[in-house]
């Protein structure tokens, strides 16, 4: 997809699928060079910048949804594949799967794909994969191979005798990958799995590309439309359907830079050096099978196989018996024969029977939607607050107690803003002056209805609790009142036949020509004619009036006038 503005959302109920959404640049360190020339003058400047993105883990907010849902007890078996929906449309393609110097051709196992050249572009491969393991597959002895949070593994150093995720890499390789020695002890979530198990269920190299796509949906009918949902998502699928009665662990893992470790059932990078003397037949059999995309079983190996190994296995890469992978996101679920999907959940919603001609179903019974016999059952309307709720009237009033300031309490009725039946709006010209004014009496019952009074008091409390609102509202009122006062005065001036400009001019001349010290400037620019007073007179008068007052000047701008 280009960098043009994205297409508008599809119509409600439709969605669009994209192979991928690529940002302008994958994550990494960059230098930008800007050159400008004008005639003979040349100038250039360069800056370094980083394009960042998640690498060692995903924030919870990056994950929009997972399927089957986390902790699902009845995940659907035999047809659906687990998948994870990520909030950001470009996330699976924000990093490069391959290391510098590696090319897709090194790992491809099938070279006759449709539009074959498209499969050689490394940017089109996601750096993540969703691996789904049964609990047995992840269990080694008594230990489950999921390490999270404080129990996570180090990037490089060993922890509790378990090597770090990148401990088997050389220091120079780690350096070029961006793991400096200060990060050796950094804890990351990780999954530790038997390499042969990993290869038996992991997707092949080309399949990685097929298992991630981007999706645009219409967010109009969704919660939080616009705030965190722009209608764009990326989806990473697994390649595995579920078997019944299993506990599964779904692991979104990072494969960035890991392909040369033979962890996928693909052809590994071929190196030509071989050393027959160093090859352990049992070990090399596993390597052979890795070469052709098969898992190793660690069982009987024929002599013939060993012979082929000597001829064909050319990779000296040390295939580890266990592989540690960065775990970006993890959830578990159980599968069963009973479907627990969206449809099953919706059909399990409870309804209350109003009447039924069926045996064993009585009025008031709560039954799931799926059990409703539409020809013999009548279901109560699913309204909020009816007399089916204990202590509630048919029109949503709840009987409660009100404690008065005199310490006495009395029965009253309350209902909130959400009611079972439509209420006509009573548009008022004036607001309630106080909560007592909002009280109503239900004459038939001679009982107070405190609903609106409660709403009034709640409004007061919420406003009092928000200083910004109080300040803004006060400011609005004060500015308006000031403006109104100004207009009132101006109107009065006009009524008396004066022109405001004339008065302002007069005021200006007084300020410029009078020797009087103006203590305060009139806000309204309105003053009565002031007789001219000389400085001497002023001193005398002030001295007579305020004999014991020390007059200070320079207290402010106004004091200088």
């Amino acid at each position: 997809m280009s960098n043009a503005n994205p297409p508008p959302p599809p119509p409600v109920g439709e969605y669009r699928l994209f192979d991928r959404v690529l940002g302008p640049l994958p994550a990494g360190n960059y230098k930008i060079e800007i050159e400008q020339g004008f005639d003979s003058e040349q100038g250039s400047v360069s800056k370094f910048f980083d394009v960042t993105g998640p690498r060692w883990g995903l924030e919870a907010t990056e994950v929009h949804a997972v399927f089957p849902p986390r902790n699902e007890q009845n995940a659907t078996t035999d047809s659906y594949v687990p998948f994870i929906t990520l909030q950001r449309r470009s996330l699976p393609w924000e990093r490069l799967l391959l290391l510098n110097g590696e090319t897709p051709q090194d790992f491809r196992s099938y070279n006759q794909m449709r539009h074959n050249d498209d499969w050689n572009d490394p940017r089109k491969y996601p750096w993540v994969a969703l691996l789904v393991f049964t609990e047995d597959e992840l269990t080694n002895g008594n230990s489950l191979g999921i390490y999270k949070g404080d129990e996570g593994l180090c990037l490089v150093d060993s922890k509790n005798s378990i090597p770090g995720v990148f401990s088997h890499w050389s220091q120079s390789k780690r350096d070029s990958f961006g793991i400096d020695t200060s990060m050796d002890k950094m804890l990351v979530d990780a999954v530790r799995v038997d390499t042969s198990v990993l290869r038996s269920i992991a997707p092949r190299f080309e399949e990685l590309k097929l298992l991630s796509h981007a999706r645009q949906v219409n967010p109009q009918d969704k919660e939080q439309c616009g705030s965190d949902e722009d209608g764009w998502f990326s989806i990473v699928m697994s390649n595995r359907v579920l078997k019944p009665d299993q506990t599964y662990h779904a692991c979104l893992v990072s494969l960035e830079g890991r392909l040369s470790e033979n962890i996928l059932p693909t052809n590994p990078a071929i190196e030509t050096k071989i050393s027959k003397a160093k090859i352990d037949p049992k070990h090399t059999a596993a390597m052979l099978m890795a070469n052709v995309g098969l898992p190793s079983f660690g069982k009987k190996q024929s002599g013939k196989a060993s012979k082929e190994v000597e001829k064909e296995v050319r990779s000296p890469i040390n295939v580890q018996s266990f592989t540690n992978l960065i775990l970006l996101h993890h959830w578990t679920f159980n599968s069963s024969q009973t479907n627990g999907d969206f449809q099953a959940r919706m059909e399990s919603l409870n309804v209350r029977v109003e009447s039924s001609s069926r045996n064993g179903i009585d009025s008031g019974d709560i039954i799931p939607l799926s059990d409703v016999d539409s020809q013999r059952d009548t279901i109560e309307p699913m309204l909020l607050g009816t007399d089916s709720v204990p202590g509630m009237t048919a029109n949503s009033y709840l009987s409660t107690e009100m404690h008065g300031s005199d310490g006495l309490s009395e029965d009253v009725l309350y209902r909130g803003p959400l009611v079972a039946f439509s209420e006509q709006r009573d548009v008022k010209e004036h607001p309630y002056a106080n909560s007592d004014a909002a009280m109503a009496i239900i004459s038939e019952l001679a009982i107070w209805d405190i609903s609106h009074a409660s709403a009034f008091e709640l409004g007061r409390l919420l406003a009092l609790g928000d200083g910004k609102f109080m300040k803004a509202m006060k400011s609005w009122i004060a500015n308006d009142i000031r403006q109104e006062q100004r207009e009132e005065v101006e109107n009065k001036i006009e009524e008396k036949g004066f022109s405001l400009s004339f008065l302002n001019q007069g005021l200006k001349s007084i300020k410029e020509e009078s020797s009087i010290r103006m203590v305060r400037e009139s806000r309204l620019k309105l003053s009565l004619p002031i007789p001219e007073i000389s400085k001497e007179d002023l001193a005398v008068n002030l001295g007579e009036t305020y004999q014991y007052t020390v007059v200070e000047t320079g207290g402010g701008k106004d004091g200088q006038n």
Partner: protein, 336 residues
């Protein structure tokens, strides 16, 4: 356009890359927002935007909305009407806090040029403002459905509370309301009722408020979370082929989906599936518009139809041949 270069590792590699970014806020310039509506007086704008949130019941504690736990048991849906008089009293209470002097009270009750009190004008402004608050949804509606792009100010508000594990486990749940007296064709986009507010009140409770009174409600599995899978069963998985619009091929053609031939038999041969689909394109069975697609092609073929749960009014229930695709759509008491 700027020249960029990978550094420091691939300093010798120079490529021209378009690093221009998209205009993320272009949409805000195309619609009437609260900021625009109240532009010109910042204090007033702040005040009215806060009161608009109050109108939408955003800061209201849950126990004021649902005063009894029995009103909303788990795994239920409950429909409601909004009592606007209650909400108006709420606004009155908030306003009262700032009206501490006679002059301030007079300010609120002052008659404006149009003969209405300032209080009345404020309430009318809030009627409009509450429709503008959900800005992105309004933008999307304006782009994709004219029926929901205009809302009536101060109109009747209805909605529902939905308490279920579905809310927690299927984020992005889609809800659409329709108003139709015609029981034959209720689910047309022209009948759609605007969503006024769609909020998650807790991990398992959502509240949806409609601007108007829908007669039909449709819940749909989230489009971004639609199940992905294959047809058939473990003895032979298969894939029913689809057109680019997601409909099944008229020929009902399908391909067999193989499993990985070693190790665990629940691992699908994804590459084999893609190659089979490629062959179907070569033979002309699958649309040529899939030609350049890879993962999108696979997803199109593997996506299952989203499940819809419909709720229709009691008066439109038709036993035996309901006008909606699901047998268990039931009455919601929305007749008004």
């Amino acid at each position: 356009m700027a020249k960029t270069e990978e550094a420091p590792v691939a300093a010798s590699k120079m490529e021209i890359v378009d690093v221009s970014t998209t205009d993320a806020f272009k949409w805000r310039r195309e619609i009437l927002t609260l900021e625009k509506y109240f532009a010109g007086n910042e204090s007033k704008s702040q005040t009215m935007r806060w009161l608009t949130r109050l109108r939408l019941l955003e800061p209201i504690p849950f126990q004021y909305l649902v005063p009894s736990e029995d009103m909303l048991p788990s795994e239920t849906i409950r429909y409601f009407h909004i009592d606007r008089n209650w909400v108006d009293a709420l606004i009155d209470g908030a306003l009262s806090v700032t009206l501490t002097s006679t002059r301030e009270r007079q300010w609120l009750l002052k008659e404006m040029d149009d003969g209405k009190t300032r209080y009345s004008s404020m309430m009318e402004d809030l009627d409009v403002a509450e429709n503008l608050a959900d800005e992105y949804r309004n933008y999307v509606a304006s782009q994709s459905n004219s029926a929901t792009s205009s809302k009536q100010a101060g109109s009747k508000l209805t909605g529902f509370l939905f308490r279920s594990s579905v809310v927690r486990d299927y984020p992005g749940l889609e809800v659409t309301g329709y108003n139709s007296a015609n029981s034959a064709q209720p689910w047309e986009s022209k009948n759609q009722v605007s969503i006024h507010r769609f909020a998650r009140l807790s991990e398992s409770i959502i509240m949806v408020i409609f601007n108007g009174c829908p007669t039909h409600i449709r819940f749909q599995e989230p489009a971004e979370g639609i199940r992905i899978g294959v047809d058939g069963d473990a003895s032979q998985y298969e894939l029913k082929l689809k057109n680019p619009d997601g409909t099944l091929l008229q020929s009902q053609m399908k391909i067999n989906v193989s499993k990985r031939s070693y190790g665990d038999k629940s691992v699908l041969n994804i590459l084999g599936m893609y190659n089979s689909l490629s062959n179907k394109m070569d033979s002309g069975d699958l649309s040529a518009s899939f030609d350049k697609q890879e993962s999108a092609l696979l997803a199109t073929q593997m996506l299952q139809y989203p499940y819809q749960q419909d709720f229709v009014p009691y008066s439109q229930m038709q036993y035996g041949s309901t006008p909606h695709p699901h047998k268990d759509a039931i009455n919601w008491g929305g007749d008004d």
